[in-house]
Amino acid sequence: MSAGLGNWGVPVAVLAGAIRVSTPFIFVSLGECITERSGRVNLGLEGTLVMGAMVGYGTSYLSGSPWLGVFAAGLMGVLLGALHGLLCSRPRVNDVAVGIGLMLFGSGLAFFLGKPLIQPTAPRLPAIPFGFWSDSSQVADALRVNALFLIGVVLAPLVSFALRRTRWGLIVRTVGESAEAARAMGYDVNRVRTLATMAGGFLAGVGGSFLSLFYPGSWNEGLSSGQGLMAVALVIFARWDPIRCLYASLLFGGASALGPALQAVGVTKGYYLFNAAPYALTLLIMVLSSSATRTSADQPAELTVAR
């Protein structure tokens, strides 16, 4: 099968990975982008991702409709986002710490409730074969794109537009830049932030459903390995801009696909090291793009994560 491509299989597989693996990154980072623009950090999106994957898979299995599963996963994300938002609205409750708690809570709950879902197979999301013109099965495979990916690509400019050009976006940004100014204008800061966290949770839940309903396409406990957290780091790298979040997600998807792609063409040496590539890349980018002495001009002023 791969004979026709030889070593060209690697870039093709990386491209395929960029499309396939990046989808959850796109959704989680867009969600986190909305949340962080309101001045709060939700590190718990890792838990939301896993929970969304479980709920999406379960709903799809029980109802037979994968799209219903995607929606249910989003709703679960809204619930977890509301939990985060409400806890953080209490005085002296730290949003980073609640995020860590939510990360443990979400994955624990998902493993607990998802135990009976490991065996059965649920109906999965359909793929759109954009690669029909190619004779190579690898190219055709790489271009089997899921509709969620396309939705994510369309969503990025939409979120960007909403943040920049709508009244809602202005309120969210005001709250993120100066809570006092927003309060003076009569907005309930905690309420806006909670709603922004819920919106971010919805997107992260949808991203989770992609994991269990399309790629890798089954529910198990090792489904997410820090994608939710990397997406948070990615928002910092993308300097809180939804469009740049999209590009960064594609870059990360490609990096994540490097290990499996090399293994497919027979390079097995250092398999684990290549699997660590996306983490190392995130770290490297954070080191290069941060500064100890000044904060980025794009950073919402109320945000504590990138002091």
Binding site: M286, S290, S291
Partner: protein, 388 residues
Amino acid sequence: MNAPSPVPTSPAGASGAVRSARQSSALRTDWLKKFEPFFISLGAVLAAMLLFGVFLAIDGLNPIDVYEEMFRGAFGTWFSFQNTLQRSAPLMLTALCTALPAHLGLVVIGGEGALVVGGVAAAVAGLSLPHASPYVVLTCMLFAGAGAGGLWIGLVGAMRAYRGVNETISSLLMSYIAIALMNHLVEGALRDPESLNKPATRHIGEANMLGPMPGLDVHWGLFYGVIACLVAYVLMRRTVFGFAAQMTGGNLRAALLSGLRVRHLMVFSCFLAGAAAGTAGMVEVAAVHGRANASLVAGYGYTGILVAFVARQNPLGVIPVALLLGGIGASGGLLQRNFNLPDASVNVLQGILFMVILLSETLYGRLDIWKFARRAAANKSAEAGAVA
């Protein structure tokens, strides 16, 4: 104004009563301040157990039965208590990995990675000294494990101090890198050819294993854990270094203005934090597994974060909290067998506990019951004084 008061009061008696009321209320406030964290944490633990009980009840189980079984599995018998002690040892060390940097206002959650790196380094050190005496081997393993873990988290601190990289995210990313690195090494350069389906390093040798403490069936790791917590407490509460660290955590700008070398403080306390978690890895290798393999990734690092938060980052508080969470972990197997609960139920309980503990933070200084009690006591003593 000389309004006739209904109760005839002598001026001396009144002021004396007020003074004594004030004194006793001051005493009570001190006492309250001292034990407030204890009561609030205890209340949070109970609230979390209540919530988990509701969760169990929805699942069709009797929560009281489950808790009884958990208690039996954790502290009920001498055997199970020793199991709990054994499990709490690495938790104390990984909790310090979060608790020490927290004094500077840093949230480090990479204990798992430092534990893994420390374990691998300790195994390498143990294997590279085939002819040395066990004491020498164990000492070298301890230094290798603590040093490697220290450098690992020290790097996180350095990235924070010199490049402004968020330490929470970087430390967790470093954990994933550490696990990948360990897999790479035990699959390749360090692999024992005899370890077939679970790749591991060679065994460090039975003679070199860290044995049980005298009179107990618990290995010396517990001793390391308790000592580390005591040292950390003294360091953070009774030394100039600890004062400087707390000052940095309290007000970074004030610390910088008074000339503290904040960057050095950050890197060094992260190094100490990583060294504690690395020691946990060394203990796991030297006392439990005998070799470094994927068994090191047992979630001690993540439970350690929870221990640190429940103990409110107080190194002394870490000891009892680690016992409690070690006990919960130890009873997990029993719950699985007797109630057919999934192994993740312990994670659910931990998650609930984490959320409740964070929420309880909002209660500090707002325990109105105490205020009422104080006011009532003040009134009473004023009356008593008036009568006298």
